[in-house]
């Protein structure tokens, strides 16, 4: 107590404190604070529980098979041979497709909405649409992919249930989020920077390219990295557009085009397929695949958070 030193005896200070507190111990206060702390601890405790449980469950796979064998084996109905090579390959290629599509379109859309768009009905429609698309459940995008991309790519390979269709669908799932985060990053750049550019006769694009984008780039990239992490774990839309759940063969000599247009699977869809299998051996395999998925997702997130903390700029 800050006033204790100035009041002569412990007895008087206790009396003063009692008088100030209205002769009551603040039990309600303690209970309330205890409840708040408890809710936070539960929320974070579940995370810890999940991580340790999955890791412990996956241990047999690492001990008996070794990391090398597990990550380099293809899907199989035999738990002793099954691995996640096809899932990892599929996920990486899907992320490449998503990144290639989403970076230019998402950033350009955000630049239009923040820098170019006049304040009129069309702009308001665009803004509302983007925000609402971000709230549409991913599984609905799966239906869109099924009826549009799978149908359009029907003749390309595997009845349209190929990696191109999957990548396009995932790109559409995350596009609204990329636009929103990029727009936020652009909005954070103060208008004085732009005015300085216009003041010396630069055009809009010149101002955006050499003054606004460099300052907004860390924010835009953080958003894109977080989005990639989200796309990496996205499962439901891929199930709808026909990522393979069971095993499928693919010649080791298959070219990139053949792989893009052939059957495919991704890491999360492999996890889903294994989790539904009844054999106990597959529980350990599922846990091991989850450890790999979580490692990738958490590392990507950590990179994004470090990037943001490092380059965050207060104006």
């Amino acid at each position: 107590m800050a006033y204790a030193g100035r009041i002569s005896t412990p007895a008087t200070s206790a009396a003063v404190e009692r008088a100030l507190l209205g002769h009551k111990r603040p039990v309600g206060e303690w209970l309330f604070q205890g409840f708040l702390l408890l809710s936070l601890v539960i929320a974070l405790g579940v995370l810890l529980w999940l991580l340790t449980d999955v890791f412990v469950r996956s241990l047999p796979v690492w001990q008996e098979r070794g990391v090398q064998s597990f990550v380099s084996s293809p899907l199989s109905s035999d738990p002793a041979k099954a691995g996640i090579a096809q899932g990892i390959f599929g996920s990486i290629l899907l992320m490449v497709i998503v990144t290639v599509l989403v970076i230019p379109i998402g950033t350009a859309a955000a630049i239009y909405l923040e820098e170019y768009a006049p304040d009129n009905a069309v702009t308001r429609l665009l803004n509302t649409t983007v925000r609402n698309l971000a709230g549409v459940p991913a599984v609905v995008y799966g239906l869109l992919g099924l009826s549009v991309f799978v149908a359009l790519l029907n003749d390309v390979g595997n009845n349209g249930r190929n990696m191109l269709a999957g990548g396009l669908t995932l790109a559409i799932v995350v596009l609204p989020i990329v636009i929103i985060t990029a727009a936020e990053a652009l909005r954070a750049v103060p208008s004085t920077i732009r005015e300085a550019g216009f003041g010396v006769g630069a055009t809009k694009w010149e101002v955006v390219r050499s003054h606004v984008l460099p300052y907004a780039a860390p924010g835009i990239f953080t958003g894109i990295i977080l989005t990639i992490a989200r796309a990496f774990g996205e499962t439901a839309p891929l199930l709808l557009v026909g990522a393979a759940a069971g095993g499928f063969g693919q010649a080791a000599s298959a070219t990139l085009v053949e792989r893009l247009t052939g059957p495919y699977t991704a890491l999360p869809t492999t996890i889903y397929a294994w989790a539904t299998l009844p054999q106990a051996e597959f529980k350990a395999l599922t846990a091991a695949a989850i450890v790999v998925l979580l490692a990738v997702v958490l590392i990507i997130n950590a990179i994004a958070i470090i990037l943001r903390n490092r380059y965050e700029r207060r104006w």
């Binding site: 999955v54 665009l126 549409v136 459940p137 694009w205 774990g233």
Partner: protein, 312 residues
């Protein structure tokens, strides 16, 4: 050029710069506009794709199969009430978990935690939000159902049940609810808190009677967005709630059930590769229903957020 300028007065045209530069500006601007317009294009595609097949479903479906008491598309039973009931049971359980946990965590971070603690905990909550839902689905099957639900539910509980899935969905949306609610409480001006302390109120009274009422729009928005996310959550339910083949109408959370989202994946995963047929159309009808529901919830929550913005 300089010669002509000396003889005639400076015009607007001279200041505009070269035509090449202006043309480049126009091209870039239209490219950016087209990128932004893809959002509208996607929305139109969603609506067209969903409505086309949904109308097909309505015109072809045997009306008696809509009240058959169960949702088994391959057997021709399309009782929507069965999967809508499942959706609301699971989303309600999720809210029972996420509302106290999320709001409790939000009040703690905004009102009690020191800045350092807040800066450390918020990123960890973001990490929790980044966990793919398929992972939580597996966690539900292997841990939550045998260890938690089995204790809560009386008697032997089936491994696939709605309570486990609901709790897991609640855990999934807790960070989202906490983050939106915390933002709105953090935005409440300090002068209100100081006024409350000045009147002799303690922290709990200040939090509950001053800060929470001031941030009520944002808190409501957080709960609505959380509910909307719970309604649209797919993988946890597909893995842990059961009812892969179909679901009968059931409100008991300790029993298996199916949500609209899980019904869609179950149909898509199991269906023959050839599209078509009334079961295929039903997929889109359910999708349209889900789209309209989440869109409505999101529009309502946006209303609340806008009210918050206008307040301060």
């Amino acid at each position: 050029m300089t010669a002509s300028r000396e003889s005639s007065p400076l015009t607007i045209k001279d200041l505009r710069g070269s035509t090449g530069r202006r043309r480049r500006e126009l091209i870039i601007r239209s490219l950016f506009f087209m990128s932004a317009a893809t959002a509208v294009l996607i929305s139109i595609l969603i609506v067209v794709a969903l409505i086309g097949q949904a109308v097909l479903f309505i015109t072809k479906v045997d009306l008696s199969s809509l009240v058959s008491g169960s949702w088994q598309p391959r057997a021709g039973n399309f009782d929507l009430a069965a999967i809508i009931a499942g959706t609301f049971v699971i989303a309600s359980i999720a809210m029972l978990v996420a509302a106290p946990l999320g709001l409790g965590a939000a009040i703690f971070l905004a009102e009690y935690a020191r800045p350092r603690v807040r800066r450390t905990i918020k990123p960890i909550l973001e990490v929790l939000a980044a966990i793919p839902s398929v992972v939580l689905g597996f966690f539900t099957l292997t841990v939550l159902t045998p260890r938690v639900v089995d204790v809560i539910c009386p008697g032997p509980t089936p491994i696939f049940n709605m309570a486990g899935a609901g709790i897991a969905v609640g855990i999934l949306i807790t960070p989202l609810v906490a983050s939106i609610a915390e933002d709105s409480m953090y935005a409440v001006p300090n002068s209100l808190r100081e006024a409350s302390y000045g009147l002799g109120a303690r922290r709990r009274v200040t939090s509950l009677k001053v800060v929470v009422p001031s941030a009520v729009s944002g808190i409501t928005a957080a709960l609505i967005v959380g509910f909307s996310r719970a309604v649209g959550e797919t993988m946890i339910v597909a893995l842990a709630a059961g009812g892969v083949g179909g679901a009968i109408f059931n409100l008991n959370p300790c029993m298996p059930g199916q949500t609209m989202t899980a019904a869609m994946t179950a149909l898509a995963v199991g269906s023959d590769q050839a599209g078509g047929g009334i079961a295929y159309s039903s997929l889109f009808f359910v999708g349209l229903l889900l789209f309209v529901m989440t869109l409505t919830l999101n529009l309502i929550s946006e209303r609340f957020v806008r009210r918050l913005r206008s307040a301060y």
